[in-house]
């Protein structure tokens, strides 16, 4: 388990979040077992995500973490130390992939609130996460738009 769900059982509400708000950097590391868990959970068996040899054949230095896994929902909540109320939905998302992520790379995500708005009587918050590797290089920028129930 990459993170501890017991640490974000408490809900966070729309009115507690402000545009520009930041959260403490979250450090984590996708080891080979974590990647295997991810692949099982999304029914994928891409060789370059599992095997160093296959990854080298594909032009990489070794087996990769699927970049899309670099910031999943749990990491947002872990970073906030809170979670949206029951009933929230992910309505949009975007990813910029900047560099490959090798198995075992130590990652740091800096999470912020990029936007919040009300549309058709629904509350929305856009979170932005910048994921950096242990060499100081940004490897992914992720945005997730979540609805917050009233």
């Amino acid at each position: 388990m990459l993170y501890d769900k017991t640490k974000f059982q408490r809900e966070i509400f729309f009115d507690e979040l402000t545009v520009g708000q930041t959260f403490p950097p979250l450090q984590y590391r996708f080891g080979s077992e974590d990647v295997a868990t991810w692949l099982r959970s999304v029914d994928d068996n891409t060789p370059a995500f599992r095997d160093d040899g296959a990854a080298r054949t594909a032009g990489f230095e070794g087996a990769l973490v699927p970049s899309l896994a670099a910031m999943s929902y749990g990491f947002i909540y872990q970073s906030m130390g809170r979670r949206p109320p029951t009933g929230n939905l992910n309505t949009r998302t975007s990813f910029e992939f900047l560099a490959p992520i090798r198995h075992g790379t130590a990652l740091t995500m800096n999470l912020s609130v990029e936007d919040k708005f009300v549309k058709r009587e629904r509350n929305y918050v856009v979170f932005k996460g910048v994921v950096r590797d242990d060499g100081g290089q940004d490897v992914a920028i992720v945005r997730a738009e979540l609805t917050f129930p009233k």
Binding site: M1, L2, K5, F8, Q9, T37, W38, R40, S41, V42, D43, D44, T46, A48, A58, G59, F60, L64, P66, S67, L68, A69, S72, Y73, G74, I76, Y77, R83, P84, T86, G87, N88, L89, N90, T91, R92, T93, S94, F95, E96, F97, L98, A99, P100, I101
Partner: protein, 144 residues
């Protein structure tokens, strides 16, 4: 990957990558939820899903999106993880029993500084041909 970037024939504008089809199961949703989801019971508890106006627990959006990433990676590898991008809007619920087909259609080649990008229209549709996800993606076709 199916072919190396050096030997792959460029995809013509208007053409699609081979689609990916998967049947959604509660076991799959729960496995993702347990390992990488939050703690939202909409994904696991039928009664909460029903109270919220859905017929069944919902698949996480990122789990619906992931096959599109995997399709692009299969064909463009380094051009995805180093210089690629994706965005998606989740427009309809995905629930257990749905058969989801993910598609990527090339719509444009574009120069971005020294990089040549291939841009895709992406979407996922269910067994009724209703779109559940719409978006775009871009991959790097040339050196950085």
């Amino acid at each position: 990957m199916s072919t190396s970037p050096a030997t792959r024939k460029p995809l013509a504008i208007g053409k699609e990558l081979p689609p990916r089809v998967a049947t959604v199961t509660q076991e799959g949703i729960s496995a993702f939820h347990e390992a990488f989801g939050g703690s939202n019971p909409l994904h696991t508890d039928p009664s909460i899903a029903h109270q919220s106006g859905f017929g069944a627990p919902l698949q996480h959006g990122v789990r619906t999106l992931y096959p599109i990433f995997a399709m692009l990676f299969e064909h463009y590898g380094p051009g995805v993880v180093s210089g690629g991008a994706m965005e998606a809007k989740f427009i309809a619920p995905v629930v257990p029993g749905d058969v989801i087909t993910c598609r990527c259609r090339a719509i444009e080649r574009r120069q971005d500084g020294t990089r040549q990008l291939l841009v895709f229209e992406t979407w996922a549709e269910n067994q009724k041909r209703d779109k559940v996800l719409v978006g775009t993606a871009s991959v790097r076709e040339s050196a950085r």
